[in-house]
Amino acid sequence: MFLINCPYCGERDQQEFKAGGEAHIERPKQPTELSDDEWAEYLFMRKNTKGVQFERWNHAHGCRKWFNMVRDTSNDEIKAIYKMGEKPPAQ
């Protein structure tokens, strides 16, 4: 059970949060311009990294804010948390 440091609320138990998959996948601005393959790349393809992974999290049962997390999936160490729109920390 993680202890997650919500950038708006502070440290809270994992059960207040919802994981939202891989981070930094921007919705294409002009979807109609994309081929099926390019759209599928955005829609379906997600990494499943063993090691450092960038993820979206939502403080669903708290402030409802989305934020980003850098987590090592091999040992669940949370390496960094930063707000939406902020640049990911250098690894």
Partner: protein, 1001 residues
């Protein structure tokens, strides 16, 4: 029998407080402070159970939570009965009853014992191999396996006890209150860390509490004396909370631990009532200090499981702590010095020690010399090759060990005895440590797994960290405390220690016998009857991974999780396979460390607190009017309102007819409502719905369909424009929270430039939906000055109004196809509003209807229910709702996916209507649809999603999804059921009032 083996001189047992209890129906006596195990041993009862597979007689082996054999059923036949309880952990109280498990008809004569003689036929993997074939026989096998398997019986009536949960936040959590834990907690608390010290036992002190080795001294006192003074001092320390009878079951990441605090299990029945029995502590600690100690290892030799064979350390604890001699003729079998401490303890109390069998060739320790001087015979370089005594040990046979330890030589010596103490060294209790995700490393010299890589703020101190002697314990504890807590000095800096050095060790995982291995029974896992033979068989059959060997042989898979024998299993595998222990790795220790009751896990979340549910403001009226309820998400919704003993079908037929003929009223308060405001609100709706929103005039309503980015229908509902920058969105009842979450996601992460604010207002409004040709007249009666003409208040429009002083929002929208209004008021006025309509509608036979009738009425109109007629694989095109998908809008969520090659396929499943050949036959929802009857196998074209008997059309109707259904209008298909085939025809899904004339009726 009933020999009294109590030896005076225990500080701990209160011999003035005599307690009677029953075991297997017979009454015994013990004293306050006894465990069930110590009290039985005092009565010379060793035989307490039968083993799982061979039903071999088994006795008490240990004095703690690692006990594999003495697992009993507590208070059998009562509603407080509990199976699989370790007799070594049960504190006795007046009236306690316990019985053996896994034996029939009794532990003394157990019919399953025949398995022991048949054991050549029960090798490792027996169940897997034997019961695999033929598959159809499985049911028969299962009956017999279930009948003879199982440990104990669960209670048959509900649990009378109260359970609780509590969250605890602390700076330092210390697990284990032996000498290391006590000193760690004391120093942490003294340095202003908020500290919690927990221990599974009912007293503090661990094994040092009765440490009697006179050659070990702390500040010139025996460790036991010294520690008692320390424990006394704990009382005066601030910042320190101590919880005994509290066992940590799980250690999760980020220092989140679950512990079970036992509050009443040691009390008499009359004192248990109305008290919390067990409490689950959910502990979040900044730092964790593991002081969980070590478990003594047995030795693995032929027939090492007879009642009377125990761990040497347990014999010492029973003697020193409980004042109980486990036998009158004792022998010890050891590979290290600790058995000599146990022997000395018995010797000092005048209990007979026949001999010590030691696999080492010598030891120079003072304690060994002392035993020699006492005249106790020591057999150096000897091993036990066999034991005798069916229900109680009566003899051991020993022989000289070869130099390499793989065989025995010379002649056999027989020693008569009734108790054997086995000392195979110590295994650090690293279970919790590894649960936390931290990694172990094998120490080849000490032959133990030790903490190596910590993943959270934690330290392991004392013997669980690999320190076994008082001097190294104190020294390393002191340094670890200073480093971890960042403190400069501690109480431990000045402690003076004298120690009896142990200089000789020898470890042999599997001890040889004069018989070949195949003719012996060296048990590795006592509870699951796995022997060294089974492990070797598994290796011969090609298993290599420790996890596979474990599963194949069931080693370590009992309720004790193999706490005693796991190391030997690893050692035997390593030796046999010729690899190093460190390379082999270890099996995963999974929570819970010791079993938890279900009661503790669920705490107060039982009965009506099992799950949260939501009720509408009109709920009391529905209850008073005898509605049946249905669960929709967390909501309790009125399902139908039976009168005069109507069945559901009868009630729904009546309600459905009344709603179309005159007036019906539905409690629609559960629909999700999201208030949307901001200057970009219209643009936002354009992006989330498939249709266009910019041109919706203020005061108008529009139906919207929301897709996922993959193009599949996600939710639907009517949204009303309340003002220039203000909308009220409704969602499905079940989808409300998810829709809000999804909209927030897009707003925050994809379109942060939009000026839009979302607020969930579902609970703020009560909604009554009034429908039918007389609905207008009823509204008119209640709000006479409201202009209800079609010109002023047309279908799909909205008006603010007042009922008395109550402000309300009225939408003229319809989910039934009838002329309808949805009236929203502040939630607290909901019931009042509802009753007003019921009263005003009396002359029109206003009929309250529930969700079932709502579903029927909308099905007559072919309106979909998201989640019933759709399942996350339906596009709006599949639903024949092309009309709602804007061709003009550049983009909306899911738009691009509607043009993927897959979503554009002609033969996707599409929503159609189905009519049965016999109009009285009602299809089953979920029934499969095929186009051929005499084909095998036959392709499933789709399934029925909604099906009803329509009283307004006087025939059955159904909605279905059918592959390529759009082009099958009028085609005959079949619905094969268990006993018959139903002929159906594909039809337009709008069955009733296709031209929508009734909306303005």
């Amino acid at each position: 029998m009933n020999k009294n083996l109590r030896v005076k001189s225990s500080d701990y047992i209160d011999e003035t407080n005599r307690i009677s209890f029953k075991f297997n129906g017979k009454t015994y006596h013990g004293f306050k402070g006894d465990t069930l195990a110590s009290a039985l041993l005092a009565n010379d009862v060793h035989l307490v159970g039968r083993s799982f597979k061979y039903h071999r007689p088994r006795g008490i082996m240990t004095s703690g939570s690692e006990e594999p054999n003495a697992i009993v059923q507590i208070n059998p036949g009562t509603n407080r009965t509990e199976p699989n309880v370790r007799a070594t952990e049960v504190e006795i109280y007046e009236g306690l009853e316990a019985s053996s498990q896994n034996c029939w008809p009794s532990v003394e004569f157990d019919i399953g014992g025949i398995n022991n003689f048949l054991s050549p036929f029960f090798p490792a993997g027996f169940y897997y191999k034997t019961f695999m074939w033929p598959a159809s026989f499985w049911e028969k096998y299962e009956f017999f396996i279930r009948h003879s398997a199982g440990l104990g019986k669960s209670p048959t009536s509900s649990d009378p006890d109260i359970y609780d949960h509590r969250n605890i936040h602390c700076d330092v959590l210390v697990v284990g209150a032996g000498i290391s834990g006590i000193l760690a907690a004391k120093n942490a608390a003294k340095n202003n860390f908020k500290t919690l010290l927990v221990d599974e036992k009912n007293e503090l002190g661990g094994s040092t509490f009765y440490e009697n080795n006179e050659f070990n001294k702390i500040d010139n006192k025996t460790p036991s004396e010294w520690l008692k003074k320390e424990i006394e001092e704990l009382k005066n320390i601030k910042n320190l909370e101590i919880k005994t009878r509290t066992s940590v079951a799980a250690y999760h990441q980020y220092n989140y631990l679950l512990a079970k605090e036992n509050l009443t299990d040691h009390l008499e029945a009359k004192d248990k009532a109305n008290k919390i029995r067990q409490r689950l502590l959910k502990i979040r600690a900044k730092k964790v200090i593991l002081a969980t100690g070590a478990l003594e290892r047995p030795l693995i030799f032929n027939n090492n499981d007879r009642p009377g064979i125990m761990l040497s350390s347990a014999i010492k604890k029973y003697s020193e702590f409980y004042g109980v001699a486990c036998g009158s003729k004792n022998v010890f079998f050891t590979n290290n010095d600790s058995a000599y401490e146990s022997a000395l303890s018995l010797y000092n109390k005048g209990i007979n020690v026949e001999a010590i069998v030691d696999i080492r060739d010598q030891s120079e320790s003072k304690i060994v010399k002392k035993i020699e001087e006492a005249g106790i015979k020591i057999y150096w370089s000897h091993t036990i090759v066999d034991t005798a005594g069916y229900k109680r040990l009566n003899r051991v046979s020993i022989m000289k060990l070869s130099n390499d330890g793989t065989s025995v030589t010379g002649s056999k010596i027989s020693i008569s005895c009734d108790c054997l103490g086995v000392a195979g060294g110590w295994t650090p209790a690293v279970h919790l440590y590894t649960q936390s995700g931290s990694k172990l490393k094998f120490d080849e010299e000490k032959q133990i797994f030790l903490p190596n890589q910590n993943t959270s703020e934690q330290i392991s101190v004392g013997s669980c960290g690999g320190d076994f002697k008082i001097d190294e314990i104190i020294k390393n504890l002191n340094q670890k405390l200073k480093d971890s807590l960042n403190i400069k000095e501690t109480d431990l800096d000045k402690i003076k220690i004298e120690i009896d050095q142990e200089n000789s060790k020898r470890n042999i995982w599997l001890l040889p016998s004069d018989k070949p291995l195949g003719k012996t029974k060296p048990f590795v896992d006592y509870q699951n009857d796995a022997t060294a033979k089974d492990i070797k068989l598994a290796l011969r059959e090609g298993f290599r991974s420790i996890e596979h060997v474990k599963r194949y042989t069931t080693t370590g898979m009992g309720t004790d999780q193999g706490k005693l024998g796991n190391m030997h299993a690893l050692g035997i595998i390593a030796d046999t396979a010729g690899v190093k222990m460190g390379e082999l790795g270890t099996t995963t220790f999974r929570p819970p460390y010791t079993p938890l009751t279900f009661g503790t896990i669920v705490g107060r979340n039982v009965g009506k607190f099992f799950d949260i549910f939501r009720r509408t403001p009109m709920n009391d009226w529905h209850v008073e009017n005898k509605a049946e309820f249905e669960n929709v998400g967390q909501w309790k919704r009125a399902w139908y309102y039976p009168i005069n003993g109507e069945t559901m079908h009868q009630a729904v037929q009546r309600e459905s007819k009344a709603a179309r003929e005159s007036a019906g009223i539905l409690d629609a308060s559960t629909l999700g409502k999201i208030d949307i405001q901001g200057s970009d609100a219209s643009e936002f709706l354009n992006r989330v719905y498939t249709n266009a929103w910019s041109k919706l005039a203020i005061g108008k309503c529009r139906y919207g369909l929301m897709l996922n980015e993959d193009g599949m229908v996600y939710d639907d509902g009517v949204t009303t424009r309340l003002g220039e920058n203000h909308y009220l969105m409704t969602t499905t009842t079940g989808g409300a929270a998810n829709v809000l979450g999804k909209l927030e996601d897009y707003l925050q992460t994809e379109w942060p430039e939009l000026d839009v604010y979302l607020t969930s207002v579902t609970d703020h409004y009560a909604t009554a939906s009034l429908c039918g040709p007389n609905s207008k007249k009823i509204i008119k009666k209640i709000i006479p000055d409201l202009d209800l003409s079609d010109e002023s208040f047309p279908h799909m429009s909205f008006k603010e109004a007042k009922i008395g002083n109550i402000q309300c929002r009225i939408m003229r929208i319809s989910f039934t196809g009838e002329h309808s209004y949805e009236i929203n008021v502040q939630a607290s006025y909901g019931k009042d509003l509802w009753e007003k309509f019921i009263e005003a509608g009396k002359e029109f036979n206003i009929t309250p209807y529930g969700t079932e009738t709502m579903h029927l009425l909308r099905a007559e109109k072919g309106f979909i229910i998201v989640g019933q007629d759709t399942d996350g694989t339906m596009t709006p095109i599949d639903l024949q709702m092309d009309w709602i998908v804007s061709k003009k809008k550049y983009d909306f969520i899911g738009k691009r996916s509607l043009y993927r090659s897959d979503t554009m396929k002609e033969d996707r499943k599409q929503l159609v209507g189905l009519l049965t050949e016999d109009p009285n036959v009602i299809l089953e929802e979920g029934a499969q649809i095929v186009s051929e009857l005499n084909q095998n196998p036959v392709e499933m074209l789709g399934h029925v999603t909604s099906s009803y008997f329509s009283p307004n059309l006087n025939k059955s109707i159904a909605l279905a999804v059918v592959r390529g259904g759009k082009d099958m209008m009028g085609k005959q298909l079949f619905v094969p059921m268990e006993n018959k085939n139903i002929n159906v025809t594909v039809a337009n899904p709008v069955f009733y009032d296709e031209k929508n004339e009734r909306l303005n009726a």
